[in-house]
Amino acid sequence: MNPARPGAEKFDSPLLQLDKATLRFGGLAAVSDLDLSLGRNELVGLIGPNGAGKTSAFNLITGVYPPSGGSILFDGRPMANRKPHQIARAGIARTFQNIRLFASMTVFDNVRTAARLHCPRGVRNALWRGRSFRDGEKEISGQVMELLEIFQLGKFHAAAATSLSYGDQRRLEIIRALATKPKLLLLDEPAAGMNATEKAELMRLIQFIKDRFQVSILLVEHDMKVVMGICERIVVLDYGMKIAEGTPAEIRAHPKVIEAYLGD
């Protein structure tokens, strides 16, 4: 896997740009008029109280729900009304708040399934099993094992994904997302359920991923210490609306943020 993405720096335009993106369920606006922009190789945190619309914003970006209004540009291309798999192919990968690994598969197969994205060999190839099929499978195996080794999960490659420890399952989910070679990685509460040591480890891991794979990361997180510790910029949501944006220091002192978190 080549960590450097040549040409990625040529563009000055933001990688992801949400312009007045809105998601309405009936009368309820889960996300309203959200403006958000994310540069290349930038690490941005998205925070807010429970039910503020953070995961809804993720579902909007990844196409789980089509937006009710506004536009979403990724790499200069419109993403609204595209299907989730098309958005994944465009270069947005994600993890889930509640871990969603492929439960019947091994660690290796979980990653291999995602790695297929860039080696689209189909039915005929699988049936004929000729030379190009075997070479392709070998290439994918190599990529998968390399990824697993980077995150020290290589020795578990043949184990059932669900047999891993909780922290390792979270890591495997991140590896699976990276296997699609994304330009943008969305992490949905990766620190949920982790203890202090695991959280410190996770912060190092996220920083490492950003540097090693040259990806932009949008991080939804409840844990302030994690968000404040690694994010360059933070966006705060409350009731589906953006109430503040700035550096960790600015956010910490922002009156609206303090009000949203502590109540009045």
Binding site: T62, V64, K83, P84, H85, A88, R89, A93, R94, F96, R100, L101, F102, A103, S104, M105, T106, D109, R112, T113, A114, A115, R116, L117, C119, R121, G122, V123, N125, A126, L127, R129, F133, G136, E137, I140, A160, A161, T162, S163, R176, A177, A179, T180
Partner: protein
Amino acid sequence: MNIRHAKTFLLGALALGFLVSVAASHFNSYWLFITYDIAINVILAVSLNLINGYTGQFSLGHAGFMAVGAYTAAVITNQFGDLNPFAAGAVFSGALLAGGALAAGAGLLVGIPTLRLRGDYLAIVTLGFGEIIRVIFQNMQGVGGARGLSVAHGWTDFFWAFGAAAAAVYVVAALVHSTYGRGFLAVRDDEVAASAMGINPVRYKVTAFVVGAFFAGVAGGLYAHSKQFITPGGFNFMQSVSIVVMVILGGMGNTVGVILAAVLLTLLPEFLRPIAEYRMILYSLLLVVLMLARPQGLFTFRKQGDAK
């Protein structure tokens, strides 16, 4: 199943099938016909396993696909009189493929509602679809309606039956045991996560339905030319259920297990024949006991997740 030697397996099975069919006159014809039933049920079970087991789309309409293949193949071969063995082979293979192709077309039609439905709802829709097909044939006077259709040629023999079974096993195993094929399992395990990894769930589901239906159609053609008489009633809901039972008993998504279950469930009623009218009671009881004792499938020995 070790997929590395899959092509060798396919050729070996074809050669063995040919040898046995040459020597067929030396075998007891009662048991020979039962081996055809075994092969037909293996095709049905393995192909349904791709839909129900690997892709997780609960379908109760497999008998409908089988009916499409059976009637199509029978109507085609009935156009011909006595033929020399080579011409017969050509006509028969063409008829089987045509039956499979038409069934695959039906599978495509059924595949479309699966884009929106899942679980129980999908089961009900596929059940309804199977019944619609049965009722259509029942009211088509050109193919005998409810009285049934005589099939002029008894061309199904060991070679055709087991050759087709080997092909079905090969296709399903080769599809699933590839990076491409992991997509079927991913769709079954977690559709949302699968699509977030760039997998198009619609493509995979429709592919499973089309491939599964194709082989059900081929099995129908073999069935028609083995029994030489088909009625719409033979492709009813119970027939679909009995194929589902084979898949569940063998272990969803376990090709070897499903093959063994198909063999077992074809032979069991035959061995129970001496006790006449009690045999279906015993058969049902056995199913209940087996399901209670081995809910993961009779032939699934590895833990879930270890599956290769």
